[in-house]
Subunit: 653 residues, 2 copies
């Protein structure tokens, strides 16, 4: 009975979406009135609410559902932490400088833009028509790579395609060589570019009044988890597996960000660090996700220059070794479920495995959730196996053991040679050499100890210390005996599986997936955001700002608030149709109209955003129905069975 809506009658128009997002203040360049700074954006009221709702769902889906331990650690970080973690040495991108202007470009992005433009130019020269919206995009980024319509040899096309498929796998020197071989220049100036240089992506600062503590703004929240591992473990009664989770701001001083919310210098991320026994990476709830079907692009396909994906059940992917273990597979499935829940189109979501050279310095395996959008496939969630890397390096640096101590059910019994010193005699005889002698003996292996023991049994033995000196030892200095040892505690450094979410990227791709234009009028944009994350759930529209509607407006908004439904009133001085159109742009899924009939008969109409269908009922029935719609316990078809169609004279659209 509900109206059918064709959302794809008009092709996706990025310029139109961006105009809408700007006009409705979803987000805007930060410091715009000062000319702005690339890669910094402010979220306005609908963007903030959308982000807050996505975070709220994230908290429920992961932290509450899985009983994770939430943290809130500092952004400002003293330098030694990132020296140990490897970020000071290796958290860098390759940049090249324009040989004449000195403009700075990210090397891999330069290669990608120029080769993609040449491939497009090739198609054009061969008379293969580019899609109309590509044309528009090209016009917009006139400062980007130019697409001269030049035909390429088939071999060259194949070569370019292979380079693009493996782009993330090239080192800096390799990128420099690609620029030379393929004559890749700065497309803005047509100048040559210099050799790629590493640029560290961390923002620097210093802490304290005398600048004595150099510091960095964290580029990820992860180190804050790891440094607190001992406290977290104790909070969890000493047991693994468990996970910590944190939602917070991170910073990356990107070289030349030009991709809107998809590449920014300051961003909100949500990170999970799941600590697991390295000898048992099974997951207790894996069976619950075994049948979740996901699209995978594995490392081998990419390394062979391809990009063919396959659709698999997570259970099969783990069983067949495509995904390394159950814990990694469990989180891949949970990430998938989360993204679908907030409104990402499952047809435009895939999981891509990192190639060997592409992985961050701390990772041993990594699957990115990539979401398709107008710029291609973009990493929005990373799911990395960091193994024991971070906990180990911090333990080694600080001497504070970030380990798990586990009582063994069956103690491990071993027999071995044990040295006992007579410290008094040792000191008296060897004085300042005593320490060196002890070290030498205690570093001996079993065989050497047996030999030493038998020499001592014959009266004395000569050993050579590490610095080459010889010493004669006698049984009054030390004795060696075979003893039985019982180990009842096992110590190990847990491995860490890290799902890491870039919330701004999810938010932006969600906006692209939600945007469409009305069939009858391409200018009327709609954001079909799911009620779960829509900034406002219900718009209350009084026929006019006349005070006779005030008591009902107050009653309806109070009742909705008590029911936990976030509503806004729009009593602005414009037609109801225009007010609804504005709220279609804001993604508000439902609207209720209060008119003279409401005052007389206590009825109210209910409008659904996508279909623009209107139903009518008593104020309380409409509130009850819309509450269920927002909570997802009924859908619009069911709502239509409860409330009759509205065919009043005051048609409002």
């Amino acid at each position: 009975m509900t109206t059918q809506v064709n959302k794809s009658v008009h092709p996706f128009d990025k310029a139109r979406l961006e105009a809408l997002l700007n006009r409705r203040f979803f987000y805007a360049p930060a410091f715009e009135i000062y000319g702005g700074v690339a890669g910094l954006y402010d979220y306005g009221p609908p963007g903030s609410s959308l982000q807050a709702n996505i975070i709220d769902q994230w908290r429920k889906h992961f932290i509450v559902e899985e009983g994770m331990l939430e943290l809130d650690t500092t952004i400002m970080t003293p330098a030694p932490v990132f020296e140990t973690s490897g970020h000071v040495a290796r958290f860098a991108d390759w940049m090249v400088k324009d040989s004449k202007t000195g403009d700075v470009l990210r090397a891999d992005h330069l290669v990608k833009n120029v080769l993609e433009a040449r491939l497009a130019g090739n198609l054009e020269a061969r008379g293969v028509t580019a899609a109309p919206q590509d044309e528009k995009d090209k016009k917009k980024k006139k400062k980007g790579a130019k697409a001269a319509a030049v035909a390429l040899e088939d071999g060259i096309v194949k070569e370019y395609e292979t380079i693009l498929a493996q782009l993330d796998n090239f080192s800096g020197p390799q990128l420099g060589e690609l620029c030379r071989i393929h004559n890749i220049r700065n497309p803005d100036t047509d100048n040559e570019v210099g050799e790629p240089q590493q640029f560290n992506l961390m923002f620097t600062s210093s802490i304290g009044p005398t600048g004595q503590h150099p510091g960095y703004l964290r580029p990820e929240t992860a180190q804050g988890h790891f440094l607190n591992f001992s406290r977290l473990l104790e909070y969890n009664n000493g047991r693994v597996p468990f996970a910590s989770a944190q939602i917070g701001r991170s910073f990356r001083n990107e070289i030349s960000p030009r991709a809107g919310l998809l590449r920014v210098r300051e961003f909100t991320m949500a990170e999970i660090e799941h600590y697991v026994d390295p000898e048992d990476k099974n997951h207790g709830k894996f069976n619950e996700v075994r049948d979740v079907e996901i699209v995978l692009l594995d490392r081998h396909v990419q390394e062979a220059g391809g990009s063919e994906t396959k659709k698999m059940k997570v259970g099969d992917a783990v069983d067949q070794g495509v995904i390394a273990n159950q814990t990694l597979g469990y989180f891949v499935a949970r990430i998938y479920q989360f993204l679908i829940k907030v409104g990402i189109n499952p047809e435009r979501l895939r999981f891509r495995q990192h190639m060997a050279n592409e992985m961050a310095h701390y990772a041993t395996d990594c699957w990115d959730a990539e979401i398709h959008n107008s710029t291609g496939w973009t990493e929005c969630v990373g799911c990395a196996d960091r193994a024991a890397y971070d906990l180990s390096v911090h333990t080694a640096k600080t001497g504070h053991p970030l380990i798990v101590r586990q009582a063994l059910k069956e103690p491990i019994v071993t027999e071995k040679e044990a040295v006992e010193w007579n410290r008094k005699n040792l000191g008296k005889t060897f004085k300042q050499d005593a320490g060196s002698i002890q070290k030498t003996v205690e570093s001996m292996d079993e065989a050497a100890l047996v030999k030493l023991k038998s020499q001592l049994a014959q009266g004395s033995a000569v050993i050579t210390s590490m610095d080459g000196k010889e010493f004669q030892l006698t049984p009054d200095i030390l004795t060696i005996e075979r003893k039985v040892f019982k180990q009842s505690i096992r110590e190990f450094t847990p491995n860490v599986i890290e799902p890491s979410f870039g919330l701004g990227r999810i938010l932006y791709t969600l906006l692209e997936h939600s945007f469409w234009s009305r069939e009858q009028d391409v200018e009327r944009g709609v954001l079909s955001l799911p009620p779960l994350v829509a900034p406002t759930k219900v718009l209350i529209v009084p026929l006019s700002a006349r005070s006779e509607f005030d008591p009902l407006v107050l009653e309806v908004s109070t009742k909705l608030r008590r029911a936990g439904v976030f509503s806004r009133v729009d009593d602005s001085n414009t037609s109801i149709g225009k007010r609804y159109a504005r709220n279609d742009e804001l993604g508000t899924p439902y609207g209720v109209t209060i008119d003279f009939a409401s005052v007389q008969n206590r009825t109210m109409t209910l409008r659904e955003r996508d279909t623009m269908d209107q139903r009518i009922g008593s104020i309380d029935d409409v509130i009850a129905t819309v509450t269920e719609l927002v909570n997802g316990t009924i859908d619009w078809t069911e709502a239509c069975q409860r409330l009759p169609v509205y065919d009043g004279v005051q048609a409002v659209d």
Copy 2:
């Protein structure tokens, strides 16, 4: 019928509270395993949850209830913004250096610590016993000011007291003079200190790969609101008053922070900017708060060297001019209500007005909500009238008008002389001087124009331009006529009332106000956090980790989650009494025990944290009751009327 509890039988013991907060990982020094950095703290699971719950209440109390527009703007800020806002020049504290070690101290804190120590020493010398817990505090901060037991003359005591009452009002040079006159030295070394110097509290960084954009980490979120004012106003359909709100991280590079969460270098704040017509600072909802009683310490009392407070209704305070206007008064009252709601003791809350020199450079009036704690009275919320300062300076700097344009109900009609140029003749006759001539005439006042008009009527007129040249004008160049003008739009820069919350300070003082020890055992600390903000609402305690309890544990936790009640299971291998004691420390208000009777009869006991009373009922009755308790729709007395007392054999405490 409920048990009476005496929470003040043991005096407050700060060391005991701090040990508890550390042990239960409410928060801990950040980077502790690297030796830590002063003024940076990480929140662990209970601290994060407590903070999240306070933020949630703040959002409901302010943003939702008042329909505020939420923002999320960047922390990283290009330098020009803070140059314009005055922060680069004036957001600074006075520091002094130890003349020998070079150690840096904050000048006002030095004066305060030394004089307070001398006053305490005076009391001791005169045989007035200091309170025992003060003694303990002194022992702890052995690096602080020493309290030598030296008697002081009455005149000196009075002088010190006056200085302390006015401390926030001294300039840097005045603080330097105080140090010289009163021989105030670095208490850690007894060395003299140098002249106070200004130290800017903003952390610096730079944006982009070539360091071309110097930047600061914001010390407040406010500028992010102001720069977006035009967009916000448009989002609000062009109407004032309205408010924007933001919750986010800010940074201040404090000189030598030593006061735990009360003075930190990175903190979460919640800020409201309420934009109001400068000619009408009344508030539409003021009558709702008129009768709220608050404790005030006004500017005049402090400037006279006193600190006597008075309790007043907000309505009276505004009517009598103690608080400048209704909007400021409205927010003072709403701040009061919020702090009480989250659990601050109203007896330990006052509003103190800033003295003239004490105010931030942008403020014209300011009331701080100060919360009493073990270190004295601490500012936790500031409520400042920033007037039109910020919007005006950004408008002047950028040329982007941050103003309101309001349609006048009655247009303002004025009659005045109007100049009309014959541009062709003007240009032909005067060439490059034409612009200068136009400027000169158009800047004339009414009288000068009337005179010029009469001269022109006689044939010609001579005018002198700004740079002293003379020009002869004739009627073919310009004519002047009296015309009627109608102004139907009024333009104005709104004033801004800014309530600004330091969430970490509220969180810490709340913990102090909530902490007490059981009468029968001082070692058993309890945090009586209100259910509204308690990290966990209900603890589920199975008698043991035996699997026969698993189905019930799952059932109860699922039902609680569906009811929106956050619970945790503690099935650790220790006695029920110990598990409850641990959760008293975590502030968990309710606990339910699942035992063999639960399995057999589907009953469950319910324990209240403060009284340790236990009641019993069917599992579903207990869940319904505890849900209402957590939501605040019933209190414990009412719960006791529903559920019979539990006097089973398995007494668990």
